[in-house]
């Protein structure tokens, strides 16, 4: 690799990396919000909340993320809404991963033992209070590892935003390659960067899990709830 290549490529790739990180963070925030909204929605007593939540989850899980991203960017204008590429991309990422993660929220809350529910009823606590003060706080430690997986998944999926012209790492790599060749080096470099990032997230998640574990109980609940790694697709 010539030093020309290095000096040309490095700033561009760094910019791309920053965009990738930005999209990952924004996407994760939207995904967490969506996951709680949809997950709690599916646990609601009211049918008019449960059903839309279920429909939302199934639609966003069942149609492909790629399609969703392009739809938000290319199809929405037909309704008069023109989104910036970044907005369309983050929206698609957040809603899609959020729909998958809704199952994490739903699963870990409903796997709280019946006994906890009964204790709350015995003490005269209404449903909202029960959720807010007792069930959700207990469920958070169990939710952390799967949410860590969600974040890694999101990181990998950010590469797709390059397809809707967002200048992330993958986009910049393509650009550098077009200008300077060195196809192998460029793509291998970003592959390694993605790998390092995903390992960092995984490590951070394990730390969070240890920090917030209630006790061994929370880990066995995760297993008992039969939660699968979210979103198998590494895109």
């Amino acid at each position: 690799m010539s030093s020309d290549f290095v000096s040309y490529a490095t700033p561009l790739l760094l910019q791309g990396l920053l965009v990738t990180l930005l999209v990952t963070v924004l996407g994760t925030i939207l995904a967490v919000v969506t996951a709680f909204a949809a997950g709690l929605g599916r646990l609601s007593q009211h049918r008019f909340v449960r059903w839309p939540a279920a429909v939302f989850v199934e639609v966003f899980r069942g149609t492909s993320l790629v399609v969703q991203m392009f739809w938000f960017f290319f199809a929405l204008p037909a309704f008069g809404i023109q989104l910036e590429p970044l907005a369309a991309a983050v929206l698609a990422l957040g809603l899609n991963e959020g729909a998958y993660a809704a199952e994490i929220v739903r699963g870990s809350i409903s796997s709280r033992t019946a006994g906890q529910n009964e204790a709350c009823i015995a003490l005269g606590m209404g449903r909202a209070l029960r959720m807010r003060r007792i069930l959700i706080p207990q469920s958070i430690p169990a939710m952390l590892p799967p949410f860590g997986n969600v974040m890694v998944d999101l990181l990998k999926n950010t590469s797709l935003v390059s397809l809707v012209t967002v200048s992330d790492l993958a986009f910049r790599a393509g650009f550098v390659r077009n200008q300077l060749g060195h196809t192998t080096e460029v793509f291998l470099i970003i592959l390694v960067i993605y790998f390092v990032l995903s390992q960092v997230i995984a490590f951070f998640t394990k730390w969070l899990e240890r920090r917030f574990a209630l006790d061994r109980q929370s880990r066995s609940v995760t297993k008992a709830a039969g939660m699968q790694p979210v979103g198998a697709g590494g895109t």
Partner: protein
């Protein structure tokens, strides 16, 4: 204080309660004994609105808790909630909130449900924790407490809501033998020093004999026999009762 009139409940083909009529006077301490699956726990669970009767009338402190007609599904009403507030329950599995300290477990419901002032709730909670002998464990979380200690916290938690009726669902069945005594001591203290109405399902026969005003023998969904402890335990009238006591007491 409590009355069951013609209460029935089935789970599928299994008739758990058959047209049960039961009355408990205010301040009375009643123990319910009998084999597993006889329906005794269901009585408590219906009183705590954890289960719905198929048919019958249940009242607490004069207020209607359940008024179930066959074929319809009774729903939760304001009246039911008002009646329920008179009842507290201690569970076999304790069911303490693991993410809160013992003290927080006891203050949570008074503050959130009774809208009690936090400082006042804390004061009362400390008193209750002293009553159950756990004044030194206020800031411990349930996983750090032994089973016996957890159950005593559970009793304090239920008492904090000032119920008129306390239900005990096999309170010592999940405990190691050496921890049973400390919990029974607390319940005994409650029975002797308060005029709270107590309804207890238990396998601890000697204890039931000691503290009860009345003992009810339950089997296959019906009350087989009821009477003062010395009658039931020494000279039961019914054969079924005799059978059961023989099997349980001659271990």
């Amino acid at each position: 204080m409590i009355s069951f009139t013609n209460v029935s409940k089935s789970w599928g083909d299994n008739q758990v309660l058959r047209s049960l009529d039961l009355e408990v006077r205010a301040g009375e301490k009643v123990s319910v004994i009998g084999p597993s699956g006889s329906g005794k726990t269901t009585i408590l669970r219906i009183l705590m609105t954890l289960e719905t009767p198929d048919e019958g009338l249940v009242t607490v402190n004069g207020e209607t808790l359940w008024d179930a007609k066959p074929g319809t599904t009774p729903r939760e009403t304001k009246q039911m909630r008002a009646a329920r507030r008179n009842v507290g329950m201690v569970f076999q599995q304790f069911n303490l909130f693991p993410h809160m300290t013992a003290l927080e477990n006891v203050t949570e419901a008074p503050v959130r449900v009774l809208k009690m002032d936090a400082a006042e709730a804390r004061e009362r909670a400390v008193d209750l924790m002293e009553l159950v002998g756990l004044a030194k464990h206020l800031d411990h979380k349930p996983p750090k407490l032994s089973g016996g200690q957890q159950q005593r916290v559970a009793i304090a938690r239920a008492l904090a809501m000032r119920p008129k009726v306390m239900l005990f669902d096999e309170p010592t069945s999940a405990l190691d033998p050496e921890l049973i005594g400390e919990v029974l001591n607390v319940i005994r203290e409650l029975a002797h020093s308060t005029d709270m109405t107590m309804l207890m399902v238990t396998h601890e026969m000697r204890f039931a004999e000691e503290i009860s005003d009345r003992v009810v023998m339950f089997d296959h969904g019906s009350a087989v026999e009821a009477g003062p402890p010395h009658e039931i335990f020494s000279n039961p009238a019914e054969e079924r009762t005799r059978q059961f006591l023989r099997a349980v007491l001659d271990r």
